[in-house]
């Protein structure tokens, strides 16, 4: 029913064209694949590929020294619509890609692919690239997780943040030992320099609001163990799940918004428990000294160096290195959204997105997943609403609820159409509107089934009231009718 169309351009630089092309360049080709989610639902993916050779400008850009420079130079020459991809095929012997690397994925929507002898092999490699850059069967299945039969999806496939219209991000500084440490963190500056660019890039996906707070005397729920060898305190991996709970009660959240909250906590350990390191499953200390919890947020432990002399006056002044902290928090934010780079084949080289936080194709990745999820949510909501209306025959639908339903249906149809045309941006916006309207219609307070009595309950209430009253009334009516009839007959008789 839903067709995901990815417009792709495959650009051959001189010397990289495979020998067995079916037709001379330029030509078009289409590859379709079906992703079946369950017995009734399936999503087809359609890659519309346009094969052509490089233009003069592109050749000049590809003559750059490194892949990064080539990527930056090619950026203005590409198709920048959301959801589209451009693959530049470079000769097998090209030095643009480092040794052992066959694919370089840039920051935008393009990749440099090393040529292979035959077209079939090249297409196999291109398929791998598109799987990384747009969507895979598992990412679509994860977006449609409530339709996948149980047991087919691994439980941790459902751990990413659900598509929502907005998210609230809260940065909290936890200082359990204010007598020993006076911690200063320039959170406003850090948010403006590091967090805002990332959130601006994500603003297409949802609205974000950022708060920050400082909590004093907030301790973690677990006592760390002292390790003599490293003379430090260690938090083992299996005690981490219990760390969050005691703190959470004090975190609070904005009373007005109903959006999901992402908490990022920076914990400065007490003087008596410093330095504190987090151990992973194998017992090795974690380099980031941080961990995160799906759909909740992340915690980072910030160790303060011991004072040079033991007689140093307490409290020690601590200036938090916000860049180091934000490197971890923003990485956690990416992981919470599902933008991990772990499942990439080894011969791929992915460009780091830098201060923007995520590459353009990663944004597309999110949009594909969220659009599909939104469409599925809307169809489930509207179907369930229709079933509710069927069950309660006398429910009253207000005009605004009805108009929301119509709007939701129109928007979701438009989203599906736009997806099949390859317009990802328009499809995502339409799916967001559809979700807003359908949620408003479904959760309207007037649709509480308690307020509508089924007909048999009405009979059950009124009949015992009116039937005993009705019996003498009916009987006297019958008596009156009989008497009038008798009365009418009598004058004729008397004659």
């Amino acid at each position: 029913q839903v067709q995901l169309v990815v417009p792709m351009a495959v650009v051959f630089s001189p010397g990289s064209v495979p020998g067995d092309l079916p037709r001379p360049l330029p030509f078009r080709d289409v590859q379709e694949m079906e992703i079946s989610v369950n017995l009734r639902t399936s999503v087809t993916s359609r890659y519309e590929m346009r094969y052509r050779s490089t233009t003069g400008q592109e050749e000049a850009a590809l003559a750059a020294a490194t892949a990064q420079e080539a990527d930056a130079a090619l950026h203005p020459l590409q198709d920048t619509t959301l959801g589209s991809l451009t693959m530049y095929v470079v000769p097998e012997t090209s030095s643009l890609l480092p040794q052992g690397i066959n694919v370089y994925v840039g920051k935008y929507r393009s990749a440099l692919v090393r040529a292979v002898g035959s077209l079939a092999a090249l297409q196999a490699r291109l398929r791998e690239v598109t799987q990384v850059m747009s969507f895979t069967a598992s990412s679509i299945a994860a977006a449609l997780s409530d339709r996948v039969p149980d047991g087919q999806l691994s439980p941790d496939a459902r751990r990413y943040l659900k598509s929502s219209l907005g998210y609230e991000i809260t940065f909290s500084l936890l200082n359990p030992d204010p007598k020993s440490h006076t911690v200063d963190w320039d959170i406003e500056g850090a948010v403006n320099s590091y967090v805002k660019p990332v959130l601006d890039k994500l603003s297409m996906v949802a609205n974000f609001s950022v708060d920050s707070q400082i909590l004093y005397y907030a301790v973690l729920g677990v006592t760390p163990r002292y390790d003599k060898e490293s003379s430090s305190f260690l938090l083992s991996a299996h005690s981490l799940p219990h760390v969050i709970n005691p703190v959470e009660a004090r975190l609070g959240s904005s009373a007005a918004s109903l959006y999901p909250v992402l908490n990022f906590l920076l914990y400065v350990p007490e003087r008596s428990h410093s330095p504190l390191y987090i151990q992973d499953k194998d017992g090795a200390p974690v380099s980031t000294n941080a961990f995160h919890s799906p759909r909740w947020g992340g915690i980072m432990v910030y160790n303060v160096e011991a004072p040079a002399s033991p007689q140093a006056s307490l409290p020690l002044h601590v200036d938090v290195d916000m860049a180091r902290v934000m490197e971890v928090f923003l990485a956690q934010l990416r992981l919470l959204f599902g933008l991990s780079r772990e499942e990439v084949p080894p011969e791929f080289l992915l460009e780091s997105p830098g201060n923007e936080g995520l590459a353009d194709w990663e944004l597309d990745h999110l949009l594909w997943a969220h659009t599909v999820e939104n469409i599925a949510t809307v169809s489930t909501t509207l179907t369930s609403l229709a079933q509710l209306l069927d069950k309660i025959g006398n429910i009253v639908i207000k005009d605004d609820v009805a108009s929301e339903v119509y709007r939701a249906v129109a928007s979701v149809q438009s989203a599906v159409t736009k997806l099949s045309l390859g317009h990802l941006h328009a499809a995502f916006q339409a799916s967001k509107e559809a979700v807003t309207s359908s949620e408003r219609a479904f959760f309207d307070p007037s649709l509480l089934h308690l307020l509508y009595f089924p007909d048999d309950q009405k009979f059950a209430i009124y009949i015992p009231l009116f039937l005993p009253m009705a019996v003498p009334i009916l009987l006297s009516l019958v008596k009156i009718v009989r008497e009038t009839r008798l009365h009418k007959k009598e004058p004729t008789k008397m004659d």
């Binding site: 997780s145 409530d146 149980d150 439980p155 941790d156 459902r158 751990r159 590091y194 991996a237 299996h238 981490l240 799940p241 219990h242 969050i244 709970n245 005691p246 959470e248 009660a249 975190l251 904005s254 009373a255 007005a256 918004s257 109903l258 987090i278 499953k281 974690v286 980031t288 941080a290 961990f291 995160h292 919890s293 799906p294 759909r295 909740w296 992340g298 980072m300 860049a323 490197e327 971890v328 923003l330 990485a331 990416r334 992981l335 991990s340 997105p353 830098g354 201060n355 936080g357 489930t380 369930s384 509710l388 479904f442 959760f443 309207d444 307070p445 649709l447 509480l448 089934h449 308690l450």
Partner: protein
């Protein structure tokens, strides 16, 4: 340890909610408020924060003019355990505890002006514990001495929740007379239910306190509280142990349970899956390289 890790991933939930409802008012129903507060206390102790608990108490016992020990609600005679404490957060109090408000909380069809603390903001990865106590009968539960909720309405409300995927798994516990009748009509998946008595039986109260002058707790919840006091956030006790709580010799009524709608086997379901809030965590292995 590998087994423990597997246990984590088997449950599939990322957050926990609790909806605790006491439906009776009047001083002589002190035990129902004490029941609800005992479960509230256990759930908080095991990790669920107030922001994820919707506590509905139909009457105020702690500050009731007839309470000889104001600001306390005891669960055990000799006043051993004060379940009221000093950080109770009641979301729906007194006359706000109605069938309509309860159903609105469950289904989410709440007027837009309702504050966040009065909403059940669960999602498809939430495990929800619903505990109800009060006076009940065959197929209904009495609210505030003036209205009732039937088992059909409750089953329909759970179905509305399932349709909108407002829960991952749901544990329903009810401590009233003929409690098992309330879970007879459930038809939505992933619901496990426990009741303090079967149809035709009465749930009895535990012990009166001569100083306070009323019965302090109901038997079933008293023994459940004793059982829960042994649980800590890392414990591996499973649901089969909860089913054994309060046998007929102690409870006089026969507690019942229903697991046919539940996807996992009860022995694989940890108590902390519903009563606590054990989070899945992952080590953050990457950082984002930032230009300073």
């Amino acid at each position: 340890f590998q087994d423990q890790a597997e246990q984590f991933f088997r449950s599939g939930h990322t957050n926990n909610w609790a909806v605790l409802v006491c439906t009776s008012r009047f001083w002589f129903n002190y035990r129902h408020v004490a029941n609800t507060l005992s479960v509230y206390r256990s759930v908080k102790r095991l990790g669920i924060p107030d922001s994820h608990i919707v506590l509905m108490l139909a009457d105020d016992m702690a500050c009731n003019p007839r309470n000889p020990k104001p600001a306390t609600v005891f669960s055990h005679k000799n006043m051993e355990l004060n379940v009221y404490g000093d950080d109770v957060e009641v979301d729906y109090r007194s006359y706000e505890v109605t069938v309509e408000n309860f159903l609105r909380v469950l289904t989410g069809r709440i007027p837009p002006s309702t504050p966040r603390s009065k909403r059940l903001l669960s999602d498809d990865r939430s495990n929800i514990l619903i505990y109800m106590t009060g006076h009940g009968g065959n197929g209904f539960l009495k609210f505030q001495d003036s209205e009732e909720i039937t088992n059909v309405e409750l089953a329909d409300a759970f179905e509305q929740m399932w349709q909108k995927r407002r829960y991952n798994e749901l544990l329903f516990i009810i401590d009233t007379c003929q409690g098992a009748s309330m879970y007879e009509r459930f038809y939505s998946p992933n619901i496990m239910a426990l009741a303090s008595s079967q149809v035709g039986e009465d749930s009895l109260s535990h012990q009166p306190d001569l100083g306070i002058g009323v019965h302090l707790m109901d038997r079933y919840t008293f023994y459940v509280l004793e059982f829960l006091e042994e649980i800590h956030p890392a414990s591996q006790t499973n649901m089969n142990d909860l089913f054994q709580v309060c046998p007929k010799s102690l409870c006089v009524s026969t507690p019942g349970h229903r697991t046919d709608l539940f996807r996992r086997e009860p022995r694989r379901v940890l108590i902390t899956d519903f009563f606590g809030s054990v989070r899945k965590v992952e080590i953050t292995a990457e950082t984002l390289a930032l230009r300073r």
